[in-house]
């Protein structure tokens, strides 16, 4: 048996090596990445035909840099850089949700019309629902949100034990909304990624506590991404419930009008106030209007859905109690676009650093230039950066050495890599010095190889 165990361990060790073998790291070469921006004009007739809709800065830059492409109105292809950024953003959200006890599930896109009729939302949401009929004439909608589905799921199980409360279930999936007028690229699409969480508690007090915890987690997410945001009281719309808040990134392109009090911490979506209201309802202070892009929305639902679908908690006396629910959404693809909208300049993309597609772009000398002698030093530096475990997949080498350094630096800034490292003239000095550009601050430093590696080691990654 001992031999068996040893051989099985050897087998395991070999497999493990397969997954952590640093020598297997592939170089990420920019020339190989599918990013067709250079050959493509944002106002070509092909593109106009596919997406004849109002544009936004983030959309224009994402097109220009070759990071997204329109498929049909409000629907986009995400190209490789964008997928990387989305996956990082999803990881940030996963961690925040799991820190407050969220459990990740995955519910179908196809939502049975019967459930939506039961809640009364089939007709209420109306033309915004994308609906279809299957070969057996059963009706479905493509879920824009999943209150019915999750409450029915939990209701069918016959009761959540008080020991399991609060129960927080969430998913990050594509959602669908038949927008009359999709616009601004990923900001208002018809097919988009959303994180939706649903919570179950045994009484109002516990449910309000859960509600506040999730709201705090939302603020943490936006702070982690270094995004200035504002939380405002909001309308409950067709979701319903007793209380609601929205999270906004202030931006002139925002479609919501917000009123923020200069004296106390009151803030509201203008649609929640009486049209004649000029002063803060809490302290009568002055209200200032600004515009915001909605990136999150929370609802205290009460028993609206749990009552219909019989989702109950079982208390310590073994008695069923209709669950108090909350629901909480973050538009994930919209958050990505909104953060590009508020951080970018007119010329260059700026991502929240943590979720930039790559942290570092390394630019070696032009072929045939005087600095070309430093090419080897450049590749060595690149490989050394990749040996830093957290940077293994975070550096891209711009090997398009037929282009000048200047042209490639310009493109690197358009794309918004947080750090651009240029291997220029000073790389021929002894010791070689490298130019490290901080895209956000514009700061430039010349560092030795050790300096670069030590600097990079402290770059936060997810």
């Amino acid at each position: 048996m001992r031999t068996l165990l040893r051989s099985s361990l050897r087998h395991l060790a070999a497999r493990r090596a397969h997954y952590s073998d640093a020598s297997k790291v592939k170089r990420h070469l920019l020339s190989r990445i599918y990013q067709p921006g250079n050959r493509w004009m944002e106002n070509s007739p092909e593109i106009q035909a596919k997406s004849n809709e109002p544009s936004s800065k983030s959309q224009r830059l994402l097109y220009k840099a070759g990071l997204i492409r329109p498929a049909s109105p409000g629907c986009f292809h995400y190209l490789p850089h964008t997928v990387r950024s989305m996956e990082k953003l999803i990881l940030v959200i996963d961690r925040a949700m799991q820190e407050v006890g969220g459990q990740k599930i995955d519910m179908p896109t196809l939502c049975s019309a019967a459930l939506w009729r039961q809640s009364g939302r089939w007709d209420l949401v109306g033309t915004e629902l994308l609906c279809l009929t299957d070969r057996h004439n059963r009706e479905y909608c493509l879920g824009p949100t999943h209150e019915e589905a999750v409450t029915d799921l939990v209701g069918t199980e016959g009761g959540i034990s008080y020991k399991q409360l609060p129960l927080l279930l969430y998913q990050i999936t594509r959602k669908f909304r038949d927008e009359k007028r999709p616009c601004f690229g990923l900001l208002r699409g018809r097919e988009f990624y959303m994180k939706d969480m649903y919570t179950f508690d045994i009484n109002e007090e516990a449910a309000y506590q859960t509600y506040n915890n999730v709201c705090d987690a939302y603020s943490n997410i936006f702070s982690t991404l270094d995004l200035k945001h504002v939380k405002v009281q909001a309308d409950t719309g067709n979701i319903g419930g007793k209380m609601s808040h929205e999270f906004h990134l202030p931006a002139s392109i925002g479609e919501d009008r917000l009123l923020v009090c200069g004296t106390c911490d009151f803030a509201a979506n203008v649609e929640t106030l009486h049209p004649d209201e000029e002063n803060c309802p809490s302290c009568r202070g002055q209200l200032t209007e600004s515009k915001g892009i909605e990136i999150g929305h929370t609802f205290y639902l009460g028993t609206k859905y749990s009552h219909i679908f019989n989702a109950v908690c079982i208390d310590a006396e073994n008695k069923p109690v209709v669950a108090e629910m909350g629901c909480y959404g973050i538009g994930v693809s919209r958050l990505l676009a909104a953060s590009l909208e508020v951080l970018s300049t007119e010329e260059d993309l700026h991502w929240p650093n943590l979720i930039a597609p790559y942290q570092i772009c390394l630019i070696p000398p032009k072929k045939g230039s005087k600095e070309m002698a430093a090419s080897f030093v450049a590749e060595e530096l690149y490989d050394d950066i990749c040996t830093i475990p957290c940077m293994r997949n975070e550096a891209v080498l711009d090997d398009r050495v037929h282009l000048t350094i200047g042209k490639r630096v310009m493109e690197a800034h358009l794309l918004g890599y947080p750090y651009v490292i240029v291997i220029g003239k000073k790389a021929l000095e002894s010791p070689p010095m490298f130019e490290v550009q901080n895209h956000r601050t514009g700061e430039v430093q010349f560092l030795s190889k050790e300096g670069v590696l030590s600097f990079i080691q402290d770059v936060p990654v997810i």
Copy 2:
């Protein structure tokens, strides 16, 4: 500037700490995980009403263990354990695809009918397509596969430079198929996860090389998961093209009939051979029939789609050449279910170890038992396991101490954790000894704490 840099570094370091602070590890407590199996009967009227369809072993066990729930025919809710396993499987596939140069993109579910009419597949695929009309009366299907979309995407860009070839684009997204008779749970659903890759080459020779590379990557994925699989020649069906292979897991529940030669390496789906064929067409050897579950399908497409959507490569002389394409699918949720189908016993789930929801289930003593004195040792062991970096999120503590050890061990085996660690009588000895059960082999060992930790360090994880 130096001060600025230092303070910015401190800021970065603080953020980084947030993401790697081991002290923030949360215990994964089984009592908190939403896994409603215990209260739920697989043949309850509620469930029967939702999914009145032929069942399979994997489906029965996934229901029983509380890992999936039916939503509507062929559509399932994935509960937390299943989502963990799916995410690991996706990571395995991502790595394999990226090792052969695959680049991950993400295309919309809503596929414009116009594209599908252009390729002639709108009518060809017919009733298997789930179709809908939006508020502006534009028609779409929910993409079951994306040849049209990806070829149009690439075609619109006006030509792939020969320097970028081969171009391999893939995505892992939900796909839809209006199965007449969805059955066997995740094995044949109407909404499911699929990895689909599309490749572009400049000539047949290069395209065959790419085709073979991707086929090899497929074999590697299945081997990494320790799955015995067979590759057979296959029909090109409605996808079309010049050549096709399927990958199967041999299983009696499989819906495909395979013929495998006992002499040479010929193997084929029976539908590709003449009904009267009794011997191997290559060597005239004896053919043996078996059944298989299809988990992967590859197609050499030639120019079928590139011709229609004008997807061209630009050769070294700057001339456009219609691209030679391949397409390659893995049914991701089906692969998960199929591997459970072939590895599990009638009583217990067995996952490919690498993608089990958790690697380890730790079972502390029952409350009120003699062994209860070892509870503290159990929690300490659990926390120590979580300090091993790769095990940080891989161990679950079965804290339902009102249940006997025996009952919990039984449930742990139903759920299929690869390693079950029982803190029983011997944990009271000095030094404490722990029972480590290998779920796959049935092997049981008693190890000291150091022994457990050193054993666990070698468990492969993704």
